[in-house]
């Protein structure tokens, strides 16, 4: 297998490459967060841990953190801003008014 650096897989010559784009670049390298100009922010005071935003995020840029509340296991959604492209789908789908709000951001 080719050398794998922290950021991308490096091929010196065609003969070392696979014939198709198979794991040519990893998502360690493609940090798509730089595309974002609308930044979604979760207000945890209002968040009901329904996980809808996590399910709808088309880029798997929301992950869940387990916590306990009133003796019950709950999940807290956390937006990974290194990958969030700012599509706004989490904000649109969130069923609680104000639990996710957006801020403008320089791209």
């Amino acid at each position: 297998m080719p050398e794998k650096t922290e950021k991308q897989i490096v091929y010196e010559r065609v003969k070392d490459m696979p014939p198709l784009a198979v794991s040519l670049y990893t998502m360690d390298y493609n940090k798509t967060g730089s595309w974002r100009n609308i930044r979604p922010v979760i207000n945890y005071d209002k968040c009901i841990s329904c996980m809808i935003c996590w399910k709808y995020c088309p880029d798997v840029a929301i992950y869940l953190e387990k916590f306990e509340k009133d003796g019950k296991e709950k999940y807290k959604p956390i937006i990974d801003y290194e990958y969030c492209k700012g599509c706004g789908i989490c904000w649109t789908e969130c069923p609680v008014e104000g639990a996710i709000y957006t801020e403008e951001e320089a791209g």
Partner: protein
């Protein structure tokens, strides 16, 4: 076993004998029987394949690409507008290096609505990176599907087996069905080096920047160049096993020929009759049938054409604003040659208008009266 069958069924039997595992299909006239028969084969258990009904040709190809990426052998068939709708994913099949095999029934494009034969649908896909083989009879259809899988899997490029609407698709001919055991020996199961495997996950087709994309395109071109030898080698191997030899081209009475008629598919069959009639009159005419159009057999074309005084390319297709497409390819191939004959380009039979022996005879006689072509298109049979 010999059986009388239409060209469409020859495609289905070709896919069945090749043990296609996933078939993604959407019906379109005149292709419908191809997938109808395959769906019956899947339903009866005669063919152990997953038949995926989809909502469009675009999805049919997408299903084949996805399945092929897991290492499955895949098949689909389409025609005309259906092939045009697939255009985007045709490129994807090539870039993903998935050896999908597809039948395409050459049908003219609308509007006006039409169902009759013309080659412009498949030739409009020439730059996608799909290999294309043009069959002249139903025997060649079934044989070409089996060979197409072997070549496609060897070079990791998809391949299209092309046949004329109605002239082959709905015409019954005797076809010698290859024995399954021998086909299995000729075409072992497909096991690609890179495939979607949950136990060994990889990202396929991910974003690739300018520092990687160029090399991937270079590799596609190299694979096409390798495919030239593969079609010859595999065509010979097929012949040794089944008694019918195939190559990139078929030549007929070219050894001492001074003039060459160049054509493809069923038009070339008609031209063969013309060659016979002219030979009886003492004319030294030969026929070059271009069977594999992509990769283009440039070396063969050069060596044959540099030995003759005149060449006539008969096209049942057109690139509007230019000329016949086989004509363009042949002419471009000859440009840097020292010895090259004048090359005449004829367009005939668009939209399925019949092209007879008499028509091609007239074309030959007209061309013999001219030293040089006056334009890039000689229109045959159009009511100007």
């Amino acid at each position: 076993m010999k059986k009388v069958m239409i060209g469409n069924y020859a495609l289905s039997y070709g896919a069945k004998l090749s043990r296609a595992q996933v078939i993604g299909a959407y019906p379109i006239t005149p292709q419908t029987e191809v997938v109808e028969l395959l769906s019956e084969m899947c339903a009866s258990g005669e063919l152990d394949a997953k038949f995926i009904k989809v909502e469009s040709e675009h999805s049919a190809m997408a299903a084949c690409i996805g399945a092929s990426a897991t290492g499955a052998r895949t098949f689909t068939a389409t025609s005309s507008q259906g092939l045009a709708l697939m255009h985007e994913v045709l490129h994807w099949a090539v870039g993903a290096r998935t050896p999908v095999v597809m039948g395409n029934i050459n049908r003219a494009l609308g509007p006006p609505w039409t169902i009759w034969t013309e080659q412009t649908d498949s030739l409009a896909q020439r730059d996608t990176g799909w290999m294309q083989v043009y069959a002249q009879n139903n025997q060649e259809v079934i044989d070409s599907v089996i060979q197409a899988y072997k070549v496609a899997e060897a070079v990791q490029l998809p391949a299209m087996v092309v046949l004329a609407a109605f002239v082959l698709s709905h015409t019954s001919e005797t076809v010698d069905i290859p024995e399954q055991e021998k086909v299995d020996e000729f075409l072992p199961s497909y096991d690609p080096e890179y495939k979607i495997d949950p136990d060994n996950p990889h990202a396929f087709g991910g974003l690739t920047g300018p520092d990687g994309y160029f090399e991937l395109r270079y590799q596609i071109q190299k694979a096409m160049e390798d495919a030239l030898a593969k079609w010859e080698e595999i065509g010979r191997e097929f012949g040794d096993l089944f008694g019918r030899h195939y190559g990139l081209v078929e030549t007929y009475k070219v050894e001492d020929a001074r003039e060459l008629i160049i054509s493809s598919a069923t038009l070339a069959s008609t031209a063969r009759g013309v060659v016979d009639e002219l030979r009886e009159k003492g004319k030294k005419v030969g026929l070059l049938r271009i069977r594999v159009f992509r990769p283009f057999p440039a070396e063969t074309v050069r060596s044959l054409l540099s030995a003759v005084d005149k060449a006539i390319v008969v096209d049942r297709n057109i690139s509007f604003g230019a000329s016949g497409i086989f004509y363009q390819e042949v002419k471009a191939t000859m440009y840097n040659e020292k010895n090259k004959p004048p090359i005449f380009g004829v367009i005939a039979g668009l939209g399925g208008r019949d092209v007879t022996v008499k028509d091609i005879m007239n074309i030959y006689e007209d061309v013999m009266k001219q030293d040089e072509p006056k334009s890039d298109i000689i229109w045959k049979g159009v009511k100007i």
